[in-house]
């Protein structure tokens, strides 16, 4: 766990470098696959409930498009 920040940083840099170096200019009419609802870069609406419970049952939460605090969750 000590090296987790380094691992994460390396992973983030690797992904961004991959994205930056190999991005193609995709025209709107070429976005048939990208516009598919399953390709949304967000949690599904039904994940809302799961994410809500997991944010209470796990001390770590966030970066998932939901609430970032508040709520009791005390039971």
């Amino acid at each position: 766990m000590k090296n987790s920040l380094k691992i994460f940083s390396a992973l983030a840099i690797l992904m961004l470098a991959f994205a930056g170096s190999s991005c193609a200019s995709v025209k709107p009419y070429q976005k048939v696959y990208l516009n598919d609802k399953e390709m949304d870069l967000a949690a599904r609406p039904l994940e809302y409930f799961c994410n809500n419970f997991q944010s209470y049952r796990e001390g770590a939460s966030g970066a998932n498009g939901g609430k970032v605090g508040g709520g009791c969750g005390c039971n």
């Binding site: 193609a24 399953e38 967000a42 997991q54 796990e58 970032v68």
Partner: protein
């Protein structure tokens, strides 16, 4: 001769600049034409989603009873989300719902008579307004929630800027939660005066995000939440038992907390039938928790309208500096908790979902000639089984209906 040369160079530069400028304008016009054509095709519709879930959990480390005892809980939740498109640019949204829970652990706040909060209903609602520009969107939302011992008011706003070709989006959102506790102490500690110094909690966040199209089948996003919290961050009816004294105290945690989760999403349309959705999050906070969360989802399209997706999620985190299990704290410590949500934990969540969404919709309902017909566009279901070490298991089943009108 020199004058002629100067004129020739100037003419060449002029023509070249004009050519480049014309080329750029042509490219820009083509791009705008593409974008405009795309926008005309994508008609905006008002929509409404109705979501339900049933959740049940059981474990043996309840924080109410000092890190041991039943954590049995059931929760029935319902939520409705309505987005009403006023015109090409403006949308008004509303979401609201309730969750009704029944909890064995909060029943132990008072170990002699059944506690008022052994079951409770939380109601919540938000109203929002958003403006969609050519490549620039923004909006805001206000709302609140209320339950027996906890009230919350929420404000949030966002802006997002999309590149002209629509392949890159930068977003920035912010959120403020102003919460107030109704202080309830464990029954045996109620004659000791004020055991906590505040009944308020404030949470503020700033969340930048960046999304990038990689090619026709791949896209990714990176997002972060910079969260700061202050106030009563402990729970006043959580007990802590000590190694060197018999009597319990109420949980005590620092007055402030700073959290920094960073998430990466990568989606890949692998074949005409199979997609890969992945997510990874690194979490850091100043209470000593470091966490890794990774998930993968494999939606498989049986046909154009029907898809199933198995998923798996893994999470691991270190314990907060202030956590120790039942009867392992020393009573002279400044902060202490035996809440296993802040413990060193590892969890696995496995499940599946189905989604049925025909292009023309499933069914249409009319409510007289004055109103627009309501079309049921999508039915979805999701089931998940969750296990956490130290021992906690839960199951959740959720259903969703999506309508357009």
């Amino acid at each position: 001769m020199r004058v002629q040369l100067k004129i020739s160079i100037s003419t060449a530069i002029f023509l070249l600049t004009g050519f480049i400028s014309q080329g750029q304008n042509a490219t820009k016009q083509k791009l705008e034409k593409d974008t405009v054509a795309f926008k005309i095709e994508k008609l905006q519709e008002s929509d409404m989603s109705i979501l339900f879930s049933y959740y049940t959990q059981d474990g043996d480390n309840a924080a109410v009873t000092g890190g041991r005892g039943t954590e049995h809980l059931t929760d029935i939740t319902s939520k409705i989300i309505v987005n009403i498109v006023l015109d090409e640019k403006r949308t008004v949204s509303f979401d609201g719902g309730f969750d009704h829970y029944s909890s064995a652990s909060t029943d132990n706040i008072d170990q002699f008579i059944s506690s008022a909060s052994k079951s409770d209903t939380r109601v919540h609602g938000n109203i929002g307004y958003s403006i969609k520009g050519k490549n620039f969107d923004y909006g805001f939302k206000v709302g609140g929630s209320k339950e027996y011992d906890y009230n919350s008011i929420q404000f949030s706003g966002y802006i997002s800027k999309t590149s002209l070709d629509g392949n890159r989006t930068f977003g920035l959102s912010t959120q403020a939660l102003i919460d107030k506790w109704v202080i309830i102490y464990p029954q045996e500690l109620r004659n000791q005066g004020n055991l906590v110094t505040s009944d308020q909690r404030r949470s503020y966040s700033l969340s930048p995000s960046y999304a990038q199209v990689i090619n026709r089948r791949m896209q990714l996003s990176i997002s972060a939440d910079l969260v700061t919290q202050s106030g009563l961050l402990s729970t006043p009816f959580h007990r802590v038992y000590f190694v060197d004294q018999a009597e319990a105290k109420v949980e005590k945690l620092p007055f402030t907390r700073f959290k920094l989760p960073v998430g990466l999403r990568f989606n890949y349309y692998a074949t005409d039938h199979l997609l890969v959705r992945t997510y990874y999050r690194y979490y850091w906070d100043n209470w000593g928790i470091r966490g890794h969360t990774a998930s993968i989802e494999l939606p498989y399209k049986i046909n154009r309208f029907f898809s199933v997706y198995p998923y798996y999620r893994f999470h691991t985190q270190t314990a907060a500096n202030y956590f120790k299990p039942y009867k392992e704290h020393e009573s002279n410590l400044l902060y202490y908790t035996s809440d296993n949500d802040l413990a060193k934990i590892t969890s696995h969540d496995i499940g599946f979902g189905v989604r049925y969404s025909p292009v023309e919709g499933i069914s249409t309902f009319s409510f007289g000639s004055a109103s627009r017909p309501l079309t049921l566009k999508e039915i979805s279901m999701r089931y998940g089984h969750y296990t956490r070490t130290p021992t906690l298991t839960s199951n959740i089943i959720s259903f969703g209906l999506n309508f357009t009108f």
